[in-house]
């Protein structure tokens, strides 16, 4: 009987790289224990009044598992840098995908800036306010007041863009250390927050703590929000929860990022699936535990909604952040400082992951010769793609400014744009078994498994496609997130997409004329003779 073995020569090794833990850490950072650790409690309850927070987080996570499976398959088909850009360009059309990926890269770079702007607009004020009020240190209150001004957000935001940029151009070993430390710091911050919540036996304790430290009394919050226009709870819970999935997608956005560097993954299919799923499940657990400890134990969802509404829509004092709730319940400088430091640190990690995957997309485009070679330049000593990173930093800086001086269309409409852009590669994998029959037959098991006679990749892909379509439709049906989709929104979308398409066509023309090479060849299948 044959044993399970090969006869293997002693030769140079077959070596691959990042394993599931690395992919999970990356996914967790891109989801972000800090940014996405604040969003659910500060936004969801008032954006979809009446939705159930745990329901939104759970249903979103389950649907994201479907999306993560599709993206694991995308990364497994052609495991290399660029992820869905590679798949869409080779299966659908290079120009169409290039335009979409170009737009995606620009938008997420801008978004990295708006996320960095969270540090001065939300995280640091929460910290300074907590510090000032809890420890009776008035200068901290002044810093909190200044840092949320447009100038404060801009200046501090730009400083953090520079910090992120400097971190990302460091040698890989240093970047790895920064990210690894951030993972554990972020988890520590959350554990301390849970402990803070648990230290309050019930609602009255929270009310008492709130009334001790906040200038607005607990009992005033709901009436103030109602006076200022918040209407709570007229819609059915199930409907609001479905609508809230837009924000759920945004909360978890980032778990699928490892597909952009699948070429660096050991046993790509397995690593992608385990990495993406585990990052989703870990962050779901962290946020849901926080939610369960907060409401209805310490506050009602309506109160949470009112607090968030006041902060984002009025000049009334409010601070709807899970970190502040923890700080007032456990007003000890050590946990207060660790929580704040952890959140600021992981927000930088979040921006780092955006810089990281965007640089991979730029690389893939430069390798395909659809962007200038200089974009893929790697610094000889730092071994870092400094040109690509510089581009990311410039766009991030613009994103900081946009988030200060414009409505936050970049963040909220990001879901819409992201979902539209992903329609192309997801459609590609649905048809993949038929348009690339031979490749499909040789593909990894995760890609080529069938349910009966139907390729599983197509079934799951259709599910993901429907999920994305729901994301798109619901941004129209429930415009609470970023307001109505205006001509400006459509204009930006088309503008960036067309810019990408024009760049592609120009590069094609240039390469053909000057170099005798048609870049479209890079996207073509090479069947065996």
């Amino acid at each position: 009987m044959a044993e399970k073995r090969l006869f293997v020569r002693t030769t140079s090794g077959l070596i691959r790289i990042i394993g599931p833990f690395g992919a999970m850490v990356f996914g967790v950072h891109c989801i972000s224990l800090s940014s996405s650790g604040l969003i659910p409690y500060a936004w969801i309850p008032w954006l979809w009044p009446g939705s159930d927070l745990v329901g939104v987080l759970t249903v979103s996570m389950l649907l994201c598992l479907l999306h993560a499976t599709t993206y694991s398959q995308i990364g497994s088909i052609y495991p290399r840098s660029g992820g869905d850009y590679v798949v869409g360009s080779r299966i659908i059309n290079p120009g169409i995908q290039f335009g979409a990926s170009f737009m995606f890269t620009i938008f997420t770079s801008l978004t990295a800036g708006s996320l960095i702007a969270w540090i001065p607009s939300s995280v640091l004020p929460s910290f300074f306010w907590s510090w000032g009020v809890i420890f009776n240190y008035p200068p901290a209150l002044a810093w909190a007041d200044w840092i949320v001004t447009p100038t404060g957000v801009l200046v501090v935001g730009l400083i953090f863009v520079v910090i992120t940029y400097v971190c990302m151009i460091m040698p890989t070993k240093t970047v790895v250390r920064i990210l690894s430390l951030g993972f554990f710091l972020g988890m520590l911050a959350w554990v301390l927050m849970w402990i803070s919540y648990l230290m309050a036996p019930g609602h009255e304790t929270f009310v008492s703590a709130w009334n001790t430290f906040a200038p607005i009394k607990y009992e005033q919050v709901i009436p103030l929000a109602a006076e200022n226009g918040l209407t709570y709870g007229p819609q059915p819970i199930w409907l609001m929860t479905m609508a809230g999935m837009i924000m759920g997608f945004w909360v978890y956005y980032g778990y699928y990022i490892p597909n952009f560097f699948a070429g660096e993954l050991k046993e790509a299919p397995r690593t992608l699936l385990i990495g993406m799923w585990s990052s989703l499940i870990v962050t779901w657990a962290v946020f849901v535990i926080g939610a369960v400890l907060l409401y209805p134990r310490l506050m009602s969802l309506e109160w949470m909604a009112a607090e968030g509404y006041l902060y984002y829509n009025t000049d009334v004092w409010a601070l709807p952040f899970s970190t502040f709730y923890a700080n007032i319940l456990w007003p000890n400088p050590i946990p207060v400082f660790i929580i704040m430091f952890g959140f600021v640190y992981t927000l930088i990690n979040l921006a780092m992951t955006y810089f990281f995957y965007n640089s991979r997309i730029f690389f893939a485009m430069a390798f395909d010769r659809a962007l200038p070679e200089s974009v893929a330049y790697v610094h000889p000593k730092l071994r870092s793609p400094v040109v690509a990173m510089t581009l990311c930093a410039i766009f991030a800086a613009i994103g900081v400014a946009l988030s200060v001086y414009t409505i936050i269309f970049v963040q909220f409409n990001f879901v819409l744009f992201c979902a539209i852009v992903q329609l192309i590669p997801v459609s590609a994998v649905i048809i993949y078994p038929w348009v690339r029959k031979e490749e499909f037959a040789r593909a990894p098991r995760l890609v080529r498994f069938k349910v009966g006679t139907v390729p599983g990749i197509s079934i799951i892909g259709i599910g993901t496609l429907l999920y994305l379509l729901w994301m798109i439709v619901s941004t129209y049906l429930f415009p609470a997130v970023g307001g109505l989709i205006s001509w400006l929104t459509v204009g930006w979308f088309i503008g960036f997409y067309v810019t990408g398409l024009v760049i592609f066509l120009l590069m094609r023309w240039y390469r053909l004329r000057k170099e005798g090479l048609d870049i479209v060849m890079a996207y073509k299948e090479i069947p065996p003779l």
């Binding site: 090969l6 090794g13 495991p79 790697v378 090479l517 090479i526 069947p527």
Partner: protein, 317 residues
């Protein structure tokens, strides 16, 4: 002088489907020269053991495959060959012998490698002999010396190892599949000093260095094209925080030769993960990488003219 188009690939490691894709790439892109830059033999034999009922059982990537008839057997052999391994039909006794007798196993490897290289040479002759396309097939550091005579026998396919060959009327190419020492002590691993001597000997024979092509399997040290996962003393990948640490593993002798002579183009392989380009002075060095085990061909298309590298791009298919 019109433009010369080169299709360059490397590290096919016996993958039959990748070789056939290379042939097609040469045709699709009307290559003037097809160059395979080393490591052309496979790494493993997959025994297809005959069972009592006449079927054959084999394990590929830890999955069991059973071929019940001749056509299934052929399909299984094709699948095994496409990932660079060598299918071998054996009886139960033969399987036991191969498991215990290293000499027999080595002979089996040699025989299968020679058979596949012969088949490749024949395929190349069938499709390109008589055309304008030149075909260079070079063994690399992983490859045993027994395959060299097979390539030498051909009156079309050229093994450029140690020779100065003409890619076109203007561009000379020198080539070597030898590498600096690797942890696995492969057949053509040599110390840096010896590699430097080999390179010196070849470079001394070039007439027009500024238009020369260096096809050196091992890439130059400390560049983008020689980055590999760092290994510890037990040949295990060094991880830090879940991520692999990379290190330069290329050759200092190759780097020195390129820095000194500044040829037009450097074609390299050896490090599958290091798909990249690097400019050392005026020399464009490229490594197209390899994903042979997935049946994916990585190659580079390079257009050269009388003065320069007009353009290059990586193809994957």
């Amino acid at each position: 002088m019109p433009m010369t188009r080169i299709v360059f690939t490397t590290d096919l490691h016996g993958s039959d489907v990748c070789f056939r894709k290379l042939l097609n790439a040469g045709k699709m892109h009307k290559a003037d020269a097809i160059i395979v830059g080393g490591d052309i033999t496979g790494k493993a034999i997959v025994p297809m053991v005959e069972e009592a009922d006449g079927s054959h059982k084999a394990y590929l990537f830890e999955a069991e495959h059973v071929a019940k008839d001749e056509s299934q057997l052929k399909m299984l052999e094709k699948r095994i060959s496409s990932v660079g391994f060598y299918p071998l039909q054996v009886s139960q006794n033969e399987y036991r012998e191969l498991s215990t007798d290293k000499k027999k196993l080595d002979e089996a490897f040699k025989s299968l490698m020679i058979e596949r290289i012969s088949a490749w040479v024949s395929l190349a002759e069938e499709h390109f002999k008589g055309t304008k396309t030149k075909f260079f097939l070079m063994p690399g550091n992983d490859d045993i010396f027994d395959i060299d005579p097979i390539i030498e026998k051909s009156d079309y396919v050229v093994d450029p190892e140690g020779k100065v060959v003409l890619v076109d009327e203007r561009h000379e190419m020198i080539s070597t599949g030898f590498s600096n020492m690797t942890p696995w002590k492969c057949p053509r691993d040599v110390p840096e000093e010896e590699l430097a001597k080999r390179l010196d000997e070849m470079t001394s024979k070039i007439g027009d260095m500024k238009n020369a092509i260096f096809c050196f399997h091992v890439p130059p040290y400390n560049t983008n094209v020689d980055q590999a996962p760092k290994l510890d003393e037990k040949l295990q990948i060094v991880f830090e925080g879940g991520q692999v640490l990379m290190a330069s593993v290329g050759s200092t002798a190759v780097r020195a030769a390129i820095e000194k002579h500044q040829p037009l183009l450097g074609l390299h392989g050896h490090i599958h993960e290091s798909k990249a380009i690097e400019r050392i002075g005026r020399t464009l060095c490229l490594n197209p990488g390899s994903e042979y085990a997935e049946g994916i061909l990585h190659c580079a298309l390079v257009n050269i003219d009388e003065k320069s590298v007009r353009g290059h791009m990586f193809l994957t298919g």
